[in-house]
């Protein structure tokens, strides 16, 4: 019996503990480490946790969008960086004031023009909302344009093409300096509702905003998935042929799922721009904006919205924990390399999860159709790589 199979067989009992254990471990470390490092300063720790929570919420939103595309629609999009980049940049250029100065160039800058309801202090919130809507719109249109040619490709070709598109868009933002200020990036992105409290306390406001948006998006996606439309989507993922045979326009559904997921990613990108207040090419690297989000979804559980959020929590938690560990007085041989070790762990984690627990920490709760049961067995998938012609006899 192979090693992973042995673990699976014997571990039915303690398998159920993995998810809560992982959650508790990360939570403990995320609270303990900053607390200890700040000398048990309550304020500093809470402040740290606020930052942590904000970005977990924002990344969770993004991963929810990815879950719609991959978990529910079955589209293998490796170019999610494109939507993150578009969402963030669009929100930034919509909400910022026009470009000023010799060294700052970008299009847009409608922030000042959006104060349409001054009696309600709309300059505090209206631009940000418009920014999010614009981000959604641009991401949606991009996805719609891409869907037509791309969705007819087989999955791995699609992955390669999406990488190319993401890279092309990234290149454009860097090379065409008048677009979004090239390598210098955009800074001073207005923060929604920042006059509400003192600057020092703003982090709680943005935390509240991010969590609120996350809750809205979560429930919206949950409703959508449980709707008849959502059921077709999931049936499609399990068995395209059967769904097509029952008369559904496969392409239309896939395109809709793709566009919807993209728009959600746009929301995530926009919120990121607001929270980080400055974005640039360094933010949109393949490792960060592609791999990390995919890692979050795989670790948390694809096809499961709660899993998407949990994955964001766990992976970002690990990320932040390593940052904290670096602050300690470690031997030079480790401290200089802690980030690389972290990257290695993340890479290995993805492989380990795929091997030992492919459904992620939080598996899909409900089954859509009997097609899933058929596919859960040993029947070979339509395009599986060469394996033994029969199922293994262990």
């Amino acid at each position: 019996m192979s090693f992973p199979a042995a673990i699976r067989w014997k571990g039915i009992g303690w398998q159920r503990l993995i998810t809560p254990l992982a959650f508790l471990a990360v939570t403990f470390a995320v609270i303990f480490l900053p607390a200890e490092r700040s000398g048990w300063n309550f304020e500093a720790t809470v402040s740290f946790l606020a930052f942590f929570g904000t970005f977990v919420a924002i990344y969770a939103i993004f991963v929810l969008g990815l879950n719609v595309q991959w978990g529910y629609t079955g589209i293998f999009n490796f170019g999610i960086l494109a939507f993150f980049l578009v969402g963030a940049n669009v929100a930034a250029i919509v909400t910022k004031s026009p470009a000023e100065g010799d060294f700052v160039q970008y299009v847009g800058g409608f922030g000042d023009d959006l104060n349409l309801l001054p009696f309600l202090d709309s300059d505090q919130w209206l631009p940000s909302i418009v920014g999010i809507l614009a981000a959604m719109a641009f991401c949606g249109v991009l996805a719609a344009l891409l869907a037509v040619p791309m969705l007819r490709l087989r999955e791995d070709y699609l992955a390669i093409i999406t990488i190319g598109i993401a890279e092309l868009l990234r290149r454009i933002t860097i090379e065409e300096r008048e677009l979004v200020n090239g390598t210098r990036g955009l800074s001073g992105i207005p923060r929604p509702l920042d006059n509400l409290v003192e600057a020092a306390d703003y982090k709680y406001v943005i935390l509240a905003i991010s969590v609120a948006v996350l809750i809205i998006v979560y429930f919206a996606v949950e409703r959508g998935i449980r709707s008849p439309w959502g059921r077709v989507l999931r049936a499609l993922r399990e068995d395209e042929l059967a769904t097509a045979a029952s008369g559904k326009n496969v392409f239309a559904f896939k395109a809709q799922g793709f566009v919807l997921g993209a728009m959600i990613m746009g929301i995530g990108g926009a919120l990121y721009a607001y929270a980080a207040s400055a974005i640039g090419p360094d933010t949109f690297t393949h490792f960060f904006a592609t791999f990390l989000f995919w890692a979050m979804l795989i670790v948390g559980g694809s096809g499961n919205n709660k899993g998407a959020i949990l994955g964001a929590y766990i992976v970002w938690g690990l990320w932040v924990i390593t940052l904290q560990i670096q602050g300690y007085d470690l031997p030079d041989i480790i401290s200089g390399r802690i980030f690389f070790i972290r990257d290695f762990i993340l890479g290995a984690l993805i492989v380990i999860v795929l091997l030992l627990r492919p459904q992620g920490l939080m598996p899909e709760e409900r089954r859509v159709s009997i097609w899933v049961q058929r596919h859960a067995g040993d029947a070979p998938s339509p395009r599986a790589p060469p394996g033994e012609a029969r199922a293994p006899s262990d």
Partner: protein, 235 residues
């Protein structure tokens, strides 16, 4: 009558679905044995179970007295059993000659004499030996598939619906070849939808239905049997 192949009480299936519920059959030296029955009877699964492609959960398969149940396919081929699937039974991008070479892959030393022998058996494909197998017509492909299975001089040959999707003329051709191969000393176990034709040149036959043995006997007897005729031969 030495038994070349013996399947006894074979239970087999895919995952949780059991398709064969205790099927037995014997193929003796020099025989052509046909397995017929309605669709979904498990004929194809039986062949695959014997050849080790479908896991056997109970029962046994013996080849020349050795237990080969659930043995790895390359071992089974080495023991002297060959199998021709119903579809996708040639390598389309390989040449005819290369296809045959693959049939004799496990053989260490030269296969030149074996190649000559097989080409002699199948003169239609011999002149096109350097052509890609994908270019062949349906009938020629079946010939090639059969030829490939003969490269290692098997004692018993398993054929999954050799006449499927062939024109009537080709069906005659292929059955003729099968009979010829059998005369050379290879025992044959074949399953067929085309029951009448198969029974026409087989020695014995088994009738399978719903994963179980229903009838067995010499081919003429089965052919004459009214009950079988009504149920399975579409009289």
């Amino acid at each position: 009558m030495t038994a070349i192949l013996q399947a006894e009480g074979v239970y087999a299936g895919y995952g949780e679905v059991e398709i064969l519920h205790g099927v037995s059959l014997t193929v003796n030296e020099g025989e052509i044995v046909a397995v017929i029955g309605p669709n979904g009877a498990g004929k194809s699964t039986l062949l695959k179970a014997i050849f080790g492609l479908v896991p056997v959960s109970n029962g046994s398969v013996r080849l020349l007295g050795h237990d080969v149940t659930n043995l790895a396919t390359d071992r089974i081929v080495a023991e002297g059993m060959s199998y021709v699937p119903q579809t996708d039974n040639v390598f389309p991008s390989l040449t005819i000659e290369e296809n045959l070479e693959m049939g004799a892959y496990t053989r260490r030393n030269g296969i030149g004499d074996r190649l000559d022998h097989v080409f002699g058996l199948f003169p239609d494909i011999a002149p096109r030996r350097r052509e890609r197998a994908g270019r062949l017509s349906g009938g020629q492909r079946q010939m090639l598939a059969l030829a490939r299975a003969l490269m290692l001089d098997p004692r018993v040959l398993l054929l999954d619906e050799p006449s499927a999707s062939l024109s009537p003329k080709m069906v005659d051709s292929i059955f003729e070849k099968i009979a010829h191969v059998n005369r050379e000393g290879v025992a044959i176990l074949l399953i067929e939808q085309n029951a009448r034709e198969a029974l026409g040149f087989s020695s014995r036959a088994y009738v399978l239905a719903m994963g179980e043995n229903r009838f067995e006997g010499d081919a003429q007897g089965i052919l004459d049997n009214e009950e079988v005729g009504k149920l399975y031969l579409g009289e």
